[in-house]
Assembly symmetry: C2
């Protein structure tokens, strides 16, 4: 942890949580990673909606939006730009999986000042050997159970690539280790459906909205790795880095695409300055 990270734990400036916290014990909780831009939480509503969905699914009380936004502002202070991370766990509890009797949820928020490093103009991708975990009850949520992403990210680091595509054990594309994946095929925008695995990113939602507004037809569908290698255009999305084009995927080179540029342009008009300029 960097010395300049600032954490609030349940509203108090603290650098510690209980080792008995169920977030540590079982990954029993959720998180959000959010862009702080021009002194405000970008797309706060989309993040809060996903958090609310997760809280309903896990049976966690949802913190009030005003509370979260107030803490974010107090952490960000005078910084115009940075990254906010929110962890919401079930809090300290008795030993054992059953969540009954957990005392009080833990709300931990940190601010990382500054703009993320400018992404490469286009990313070199590999296919990860580590599969994405399948669980229809957890799919789409940003839970604290992310060991699959961790091991996949380690592979990508070892190979010196920029990002990696994760698939289900039966070879269906889920996303990248820290991004959602989109593809164009014959003018139609495709992205993996997330009923079994993966995280429904806030930028993914915005891209689907933008594409619909542009009159581009969209489909959330099953995409095999073989199909992904055949797409006309490929791009990744992430709440912090916006939209990034794909330069190569295991050596295959998707032609740089006009349709991706239209989506990037629409994102920039919605306030995503990082959307890769074409």
């Amino acid at each position: 942890m960097n010395a300049d990270d600032r954490w609030l734990v349940n509203g108090a400036p603290l650098a510690a949580i209980s080792p008995g916290d169920r977030g540590l014990a079982y990954g029993d909780g959720l998180f959000e990673t959010m862009a702080w831009r021009d002194g405000a939480l970008r797309f706060a509503e989309r993040h809060l909606q996903r958090l609310a969905r997760g809280c309903r699914r896990l049976g966690l009380p949802l913190p009030a939006a005003e509370l979260l936004l107030g803490e974010a502002a107090s952490l960000a202070g005078q910084h115009g730009c940075g990254t906010l991370k929110l962890i919401l766990s079930r809090g300290p509890g008795r030993r054992g999986y059953a969540p009954a009797g957990a005392a009080q949820p833990t709300r931990a928020m940190a601010f990382y000042p500054g703009r993320p490093a400018a992404p490469a103009p286009a990313l070199r991708l590999g296919l990860c050997r580590t599969p994405a975990s399948i669980n229809p009850v957890l799919a789409g949520l940003k839970t604290l159970n992310r060991l699959d992403n961790v091991l996949a990210a380690a592979e990508i680091g070892d190979r010196g690539l920029d990002e990696g595509i994760m698939c289900t054990p039966d070879g269906m594309v889920v996303g990248a280790t820290a991004a959602n994946v989109f593809a164009f095929r014959e003018g139609v925008l495709l992205t993996p459906e997330l009923s079994r695995a993966g995280i429904a990113g806030t930028m993914r939602g915005l891209v689907l909205d933008c594409a619909a507004a542009l009159g581009i037809s969209c489909r959330e569908t099953r995409i095999s790795t073989e199909e992904l290698l055949q797409m006309d255009e490929l791009f990744l999305t992430n709440a912090l880095t916006g939209l990034r084009r794909v330069a190569s995927l295991e050596g295959h080179l998707p032609p740089d695409g006009e349709l991706t540029c239209r989506v990037a342009q629409a994102l920039r008009e919605r306030g995503v300055a990082e959307a890769d300029p074409c």
Copy 2:
């Protein structure tokens, strides 16, 4: 957390870990829950072997056995009987999934004095709706990614049952929420194979060893829920509570079995006093 829990964090008596710990952020780590009996860690070798397998898989340095056993003894103190919980995470790290650059692993150990409450003479089980997460790379390990077990345990609590059977999304039995499951069919001992999901329990390993020593033929295999309901005998195993017979599974009543009693007797002879007496 109970006031009488005692934690050591990296060897120091502490009640706090960093909110930037990757164990909290991503469940990036492992745990073991171990029985302290008669002033010693029961089946320490089996627990350390599983921990070593997990460390290799996650790329974590394995703490020295002497260190762990020494900390266990110092926590247990004069208590003859209790439960030790060890959490081993990748420790505080930078934001982002990639584990590179994580500073120092976090080793947190707690002792809960006393013998676990005597289990019911036989357990009332249900089938959980929450599926077990599928990931062949993580299967068998006791990782900190346990949200599936948490949600399944919540179901069982809501229904007032003793335990619950978890299955893969395609209906294959994985185990109970906090136990492995065994069945006898026509004299053969069956237990779910764990190549896709589940935890390879230390007591599960001991049962397989005992059964082999008794000349009982054993198979680790795929078992559907329909098949499980047709078995001649059913029992659950867990490091703390030994072996427990199953009284009912969704109303179905497996006949109380002679073979289960032979296994329980063998476990008692190996030092598992809790193995359900027949």
